[in-house]
Symmetry: C2
Subunit: 314 residues, 2 copies
Amino acid sequence: MKADEYPDLKKAAELLDGQIHRSPILRSQTIDKALGCEVHFKSEHLQKTGSFKVRGACYTLRSMLAEERSKGVITHSSGNHGQALAWAGKALDTKVHVVVPEDAPKVKVEAMHAYGAQLHFCAPGQAAREQLCSELMDAHGFSFVPPYDDPRIITGQSTMMQECIEDISGLDAAFVPVGGGGLLAGALLAARQFQPDLKVFGAEPRNADDAFRSLESGVRQEQPAPDTMADGLRTALGVHNFAIIQQEAEGIVTVTEEEILEAMKWIYRYLKQAVEPSAAVSLASIIKEKDRWKGRKLLSVLCGGNSDLSALPF
Amino acid sequence: MKADEYPDLKKAAELLDGQIHRSPILRSQTIDKALGCEVHFKSEHLQKTGSFKVRGACYTLRSMLAEERSKGVITHSSGNHGQALAWAGKALDTKVHVVVPEDAPKVKVEAMHAYGAQLHFCAPGQAAREQLCSELMDAHGFSFVPPYDDPRIITGQSTMMQECIEDISGLDAAFVPVGGGGLLAGALLAARQFQPDLKVFGAEPRNADDAFRSLESGVRQEQPAPDTMADGLRTALGVHNFAIIQQEAEGIVTVTEEEILEAMKWIYRYLKQAVEPSAAVSLASIIKEKDRWKGRKLLSVLCGGNSDLSALPF
């Protein structure tokens, strides 16, 4: 599905209105002064369930027919998408099943459980997840809600950028973390429709740079061994997502682990916000090219805040 | 000075209006659900310079005569008050000098310097600070701005609770961290004047419980060896502050280091806010007596967010 074949994004925003937070835009004078530009932080770590993932999950569930949801829905996730779907299912009285790798962070497993999801543990690795998921769907008739590589998920995530464009006039450029690519693809669709002159960049760890390499080569690349503290961005780029990113993105900025850590310190120290490492990748991308952005109005998307506190990199 | 001899608090609020932030009130459904009550978090870690201290510093400077400020002002501080005064002085074009113990946290020293203060280093300990401060005042005619034991500072800090009472209707009880006691004394004055039925408690680390012991014994007690992660609350209770606290406080709740750590985790995990350990003491006090507060509307004051990230206790 190409960018111009996507459904009415405005309707997605209407469907989510009142269901989720319109997350705030935060600022720091210290950061603006240090960079010589305006940085507006879209604070999705303050979103329901602590990440933007609830947008796609909620929209997908709500755009399903009731009978599609009646036997329950299922996904596989080690983190934020599982929490988001569990939360969205609860609001719709839909039973949510999540296939979880045994090595998933304890704090995220507890959160999925607390939101009422039924958990099914599997061996680590993508293959084991998908296989158990298929088996459970065959046996029980659950409907699958994909984590990111899906037009409905992308449409749901587009509401994040719709809000930014409404809330901040005259943005010059936006930096969106890219893992599977759902948030970035959604942001690109929204920019294209509501502010076509807005430059939208993906922000990616150098140690998990499949989106960058895919864009360079023109062919979607694998991400065999991501090795980054930004655990939310280790996922491989989705097929639908790549199609949009290839067509619409201004570029992908890649940043080192040191640059991610430094940006994370700025966010804790100056914004006083407890974000997960993935969220810092967008600010790291701005810091990296700060000379290019002097005097400009920029968006840094803080995509989530679900950190394992015992593993904070400070 | 007793509580009823204090000047017009409303005027202090007017003097600070537009100079500092009206800091936001934050909420967490997860925390409310876990405690069975409403907790409203007054977010002074998002205040200018990252703590409430800027209220007292700014009010004191602005209520001085211009000639009192003309030769510069001085204080001693290892942390938030020094930053606050440095910032407030800059806005009034007043030269700020801060006597800083050599063992003060590097990040706070850097911040004071960045706000334009001239720093004078001394040996650790209260005596050395006060002596160098006196010498510099004698030599250069600087005016002294005390960190907390002073009616003007207390009056300035009262604006925090004035905002809470205006912004949250029907509060049942408020929990305010107590170190030197300036913020608590100011909160008590504001409650007495603007919502007399509001119960205001001090929240104090058990390992620095001079306010608790002072209230119990009726005589201000020393705090010889505070041993708490809540570094902002190690200060000894001030004389003026004690007079008000003794007269007006509902009580002092003391909490262990484990209880502070647990509350801090809740604030990072559920509120996604990066606060300093002192700020968590107010929530720890609520968690400790949660059965008492079922169904009530409570205020937890997050007093500051200037943590040394490399020393976070997670």
